[in-house]
């Protein structure tokens, strides 16, 4: 393979260049990427979306993250092929990736275990673990390594240029999250502002959205390509141009496997069908339900029964344990609800409630509050999976060893033993694992001396890649030992060297025992770190214990007896246009004159209002808005004058003991509150109610009253008001003393659904907007305020301090004067420069050119990456001159001999070579510039 045909010039690049290159690379090969994305990303997006619909956004994002861990492999395969080939078929990339999936699964399990272990230590170990395991996909897919080999190889590749690897790892973590948030924000703006469609709930409120999912998946091709290029860059830096032969070998291997691609035709069709199905699913999910004309309490019970029968609400059969205080307060309803044995049993149990009440309407925030339960369950699963993986990992090499032993016992002629290399053959093998395996083969063949040499080479190679030694052909084994910077590895290396010297130079025979010892030592040098990583992972196992009963269940939607899912569902079935508010209450746009805005429902049991929000709500109602406030009377805006009313309870009974019978009036119509005649007083605009009142039963019976004249809509038997309508300015407030009728259990009690519908009919709107818990506070005015609001203030301070410390450290490092070492042959360089003409007159120009070529050769070899030998290519890349010109120049320079007659161009070549050399070394000095 010709390096000049590489689609991407293989030279060392800074990380930003690599990221930019990845963008341009994806753009340049848009069509292959698009085809592969259609096959991989669309199904992933559909599965993620479906998972979020079924289990909530917590499950959805987990599934997304897990799928992304595997969906990137085809893009790595595609990028690796596109670097060297003009046309790459999608099925080739898929087949390459699919072959690596079993091993990738095992590696991802190990990574997940490492992540769990890191979580126990605040995530700090992941900075190292995540980095050393960064390139597992590339090594699995491209280098076709086994699991153990991949772990060690990935660590070595990442360690070769750790800073770039760390930054890449952080990018891979941050970029999808940022892309998801950006896509959600931008997509909502486009949908709502530009296209005037109703956007999905914001990711910051609902925990996710299909827009965010699209943003996450859309970054995957670029991220995988960027990581592949970082891998390419690191290997170019460490192994020089050997990488081209490695990729050539991969290409040759894949060429032989093209015949198996035909079977993927069916899979491709399947992928196409799956993609179409996914799109159809997305379209189906986006379709809005049909709307009804008005709230009808008569249908309410049927709506509740229908919702419960569809199985979406396990709060009766398997309520979330333990019961929150809000759920426990609803226990009086349990015996009245048919088939509510689970909730009834939990009410009867003595399990203390948790300290924090779970969310009513927003499952994802409830899931976040029970995070320890999720982590514990996940840790349990991972422990069992790890046990299974370990058993498999032990069985596989055992089975392989048995198979290998069987092959070794075959009669001669069937399997010829490998030939030991002769002393004059220099076998260049760049992978220490290959050297180890080659040594094992030679040992089994009885060639112990050669085996010892291979073990020594493997150990030296491993240490060289770690930077502990530097392999050069002129170094003796003793110099490697003395020069080894790894104090722990030095004794091991010394032991191997002693064995090798004894056999090679001492004339002694190598014994199987000494070879076995050397093999063990060499393996220890080569595989020390992966074993350490596995040991760390195993050490994390005791911490992954089972979670207690109290947090043994994973929160699900609809399993909270005090939740509000049934409330929203019933209103939607009633034909209401029910949705989350989507904005802060403090930033509600004031209604225009005569505008019929949706009613805003605020449950103050879950939503706290700050002063700015209260003031704005008052202003909003005055401008013509309709506000429904429920519960926590003390948190209402003072301007509405709502107070709790003392109710008379029988002696010995408690207000919250229940049942409290409720009578609710259903609104049929209300006169318009628009001030068309200029009269702002809405007190005369009364409602028209149905003759038949609805009746409900509450477990607790708080009553309320407005200071200003209000229209009662729901009252208890003692005449105290449970809910009332307070006209205020151009709008009105529908005040409800508690949110009990908005809970799952209360609505499931026969009769309460009709009462709830009747109460909300007094809002005189089918369009209801439900405020989220965080909508009660005004949005932060600055980014810093937003960070402080979400509790990242301390983290921000720490980050700023860390930046200052790093800045000071970097500045002091750069400010420290470093002595400029004089060149070793300064006299010679100046001499050549000063007497160039003299050399020409004395016909010594060839000598000058030859001497300078030797000087430059020595200096360049000291700068070139390990393993590289092409001086001209190195000069060309560093000096940014055309490679062909540099090759001609260098060839001419090394061709010169001291005693040869001059050809006439020596001094010109010398001048040009010195300029190129100076440019490559980054110095402005050149003969031409003097």
């Amino acid at each position: 393979m010709d390096l000049m045909r590489a689609r991407v010039a293989m030279r060392e690049r800074p990380l930003l260049d690599i990221l930019d290159l990845a963008v341009r690379f994806c753009a340049a090969h848009a069509w292959p990427y698009a085809k592969l994305s259609a096959v991989v990303l669309l199904p992933g997006l559909a599965v993620s979306w479906g998972a979020s619909r079924i289990g909530g956004w917590w499950v959805g994002w987990t599934v997304t993250w897990m799928l992304s861990a595997f969906a990137g492999a085809p893009f790595v395969a595609l990028a690796s092929r596109l670097v060297f080939a003009d046309r790459v078929r999608t099925r080739e990339s898929l087949s390459i990736a699919l072959r690596a999936v079993p091993r990738l699964i095992l590696l991802r399990l190990l990574q997940a275990l490492g992540l769990v272990f890191s979580a126990l230590l605040l995530g700090l170990p992941w900075l190292w673990l995540g980095t050393v395991l960064l390139f597992v996909v590339e090594i699995l897919v491209l280098e076709q390594s086994g699991v153990g080999g991949t772990l060690g190889r990935a660590q070595r590749v990442a360690s070769a240029h750790f800073p770039d690897a760390v930054l890449t790892m952080l990018l891979l973590v941050v970029a999808p999250v940022a892309a998801a948030m950006l896509a959600d924000v931008a997509g909502r703006e486009i949908l709502a502002g530009l296209l005037e469609f109703r956007p999905p709930p914001s990711i910051f409120r609902a925990g996710g959205s299909w827009l965010a999912l699209m943003g996450w998946w859309a970054t995957l091709p670029w991220l995988e390509t960027a990581r592949f290029f970082v891998y390419l860059d690191i290997r170019t830096r460490t192994e020089g141009w050997d990488i081209q032969t490695r990729f050539a070998a991969i290409a040759a291997r894949l060429e032989a496997e093209r015949s198996t691609q035909a079977s993927l035709g069916v899979e491709k069709a399947g992928h196409r069908r799956l993609a179409v199905g996914g799109l159809a699913l997305l379209a189906l999910l986006a379709v809005a339900p049909p709307a009804h004309a008005a709230f009808d309490p008569a249908r309410a019970q049927a709506d509740v029964d229908g919702a419960m029968s569809e199985g979406q609400y396990p709060f009766c059969s398997a309520p979330r344990a333990p019961l929150s205080p809000s759920a426990r307060a609803l226990c009086p309803h349990a015996s009245e609800i048919p088939a509510c044995r689970g909730f009834l049993a939990d009410c009867a149990s003595a399990t203390p409630p948790p300290a924090t009440p779970p969310s009513r309407t927003w499952p994802w925030s409830g899931h976040a509050l029970t995070l320890p339960a999720v982590v514990g369950r996940a840790a349990q699963m991972l422990v069992w999976l790890l046990v299974a993986a370990l058993v498999t990992a032990i069985l596989i090499p055992v089975l392989r060893a048995i198979a290998r032993a069987k092959r070794g016992n075959d009669p001669p002629g069937l399997a010829a033993p490998p030939e030991a290399p002769r002393a004059d053959e220099v076998v260049v093998v760049n992978d220490e694992e290959l050297l180890l395996s080659r040594g094992d083969e030679l040992a089994r063949a009885g060639r112990f001396g050669a085996a010892l040499q291979h073990y020594l080479a493997a150990g030296l190679r491993a240490l060289d890649k770690r930077g502990s030694v530097r392999i050069t052909r002129d170094r003796t084994n003793g110099e490697y030992v003395r020069g080894c910077t790894d104090a722990g590895a030095r004794p091991v290396l010394r032991a191997i060297v002693r064995e090798v010297d004894r056999v090679q130079f001492g004339g002694e025979e190598a014994t199987p025992e000494s070879v076995a010892r050397a093999s063990h030592w060499a393996a220890a040098l080569v595989r020390a770190l992966p074993l350490l990583a596995l040991a760390l992972a195993l050490a994390g196992l005791p911490g992954c214990g089972s979670a207690g009963r109290g947090s043994s269940t994973v929160p699900r939607a609809g399993d909270d007896p005090a939740g509000g899912e049934l409330f929203l569902d019933v209103l939607r079935r009633q034909g209401g246009d029910v949705a989350t508010l989507g904005t802060s209450l403090a930033s509600l746009p004031l209604p225009e004159r005569g505008e019929r805005v949706a009613a805003v429902v605020v449950d103050l049991e879950h939503t706290d209002l700050d002063d700015d929000t209260r003031d704005h709500l008052v202003e909003w109602v005055d401008a013509g808005g309709i506000l429904v406030l429920a519960g926590h009377l003390a948190g209402w805006p003072k301007a509405f004058g709502a107070t709790a009313t003392q109710r008379e309870v029988p002696l010995g009974a408690a207000l919250s003991s229940g049942p409290h019978e409720l009578t609710v009036r259903r609104l049929l119509a209300r006169s318009a509150l628009d001030d068309s005649d200029g009269d702002d007083d809405a007190s005369g605009k009364a409602g028209v109610y149905a003759e038949t009142a609805e009746r409900g039963v509450l477990a607790s019976g708080p009553a309320m009253n407005f200071a200003a004249p209000a229209e009662g809509v729901a009252s208890f038997a003692d005449g105290t008001t449970y809910a009332a309508v307070l006209p205020h300015g151009g709008g009105f407030v529908l005040g409800i003393a508690s949110d009990e009728l908005m809970t799952n259990v209360a609505l499931a009690r026969p009769g309460n659904a009709a009462a709830m519908v009747a109460v909300f009919s007094n809002a005189d709107r089918l369009a209801l907007r439900i405020a989220d818990a965080e909508d009660g506070v005004s949005p932060p005015s600055t980014p810093i305020a937003a960070l402080l609001r979400v509790g990242l203030g301390t983290g921000l301070v720490h980050a700023l301090l860390a930046v200052l410390v790093l800045f000071a450290a970097a500045g002091s490092r750069l400010a420290r004067p470093r002595p400029i070492l004089p060149p070793r042959r300064r006299a010679f360089a100046e001499h050549v420069e000063a007497v160039g003409a003299l050399y020409a007159r004395t016909h010594s120009a060839p000598h000058a050119l030859a001497a300078y070529a030797r000087f430059a050769d020595e200096r360049l070899h000291a700068r070139m990456p390990r393993g590289s030998a092409d001086v001209a290519a190195f000069l060309a890349s560093r000096a940014r001159v055309p490679v062909e010109a540099c090759q001609r120049l260098w060839a001419r320079a090394v061709q010169a001999k001291a005693g040869a007659p001059p050809l006439g161009d020596e001094l010109a070549v010398l001048r040009e070579l010195s300029a190129v050399y100076a440019a490559a070394m980054g110095r402005p000095m050149s003969l031409d510039e003097r």
Binding site: V427, A450, R473, Q504, E508, F828
Partner: protein
Amino acid sequence: MDANLFQQTFDRIRREMARVVVGQQELVDGVLVATIAKGHVLVEGAPGLGKTLVARAFATVSGCAFKRIQFTPDLMPSDITGSSVYSRETGRFTFVPGPIFAQFLLADEINRAPAKTQSALLEAMQDHQVTVDGTSRPLPGPFVVAATQNPVESQGTYPLPEAQLDRFLFKLTVGDPPPELERTIVRHHADGFDPTNLSALHSATSPQELLAMQLHAQSVHVDDAVIAYIVELVRRTRDDKAIELGASPRASIALLKSAQVIAASDGRTFLTPDDVKPMVAAVLRHRVMLHPDAQLQGISADERIQDILRAVPVPRLAA
């Protein structure tokens, strides 16, 4: 003598030398290795660096008879070898041996004597015998010549001819000690150390033991690969463009013998390239003659030797 005894004796001599010689480890080791390798050592260094002290101390430690000759321009060969003197009482000529009849001879500033006088050492260094008036008289074993020369002064000196330079196993260059060592040296003198009185030194070995060590060093096994490595190193000096006259096969032999001593001092009975490499510079630097152009360019023999060392691959079976 076995390998362990050799190593113990070797270390004992070095420890004993360290009691009076501060620093100059390369010089001490070079003299010791040259003695065991049956060679001679040429020491080049400025005055006052302890060259004479090392020689005298070594002679004391090794139990060898020590003689010192200060070479001057008017020194005659007979002043070195001795001569026959007529005795009136006996009526016959009696041979009076010269200072060369010692086991350890310090030839101070050897380049100050004319070539004829310098040549008087040739036979002694090569054959360990002196021929005077047709009679060859053997020199006591072990016979080691440690010659010194001053690199600073060029007036009135006679550069050693190549033939004689080749007789020296090593050429050792002695430099200024680092500040901390110089402070230690001055402290020793301040505490009363007298370099002329080495009675505090004990004899760590004997001439007979040194002879046994010489025999043991010769028995160190040498693999063909190491021989090839040695030959390749020396041969490269002949092909190097900056070297006009490369080293002779005698240099190969010298390299071999000195490396054998190094291997034996490590307690081994076989030679490795790691034993050869440290001795290359000392063995070759005085045996190569640089091209005048190279001298003009400021290239030194040591630099070319290091280049050759980097260019020659160390023998191994697979990389």
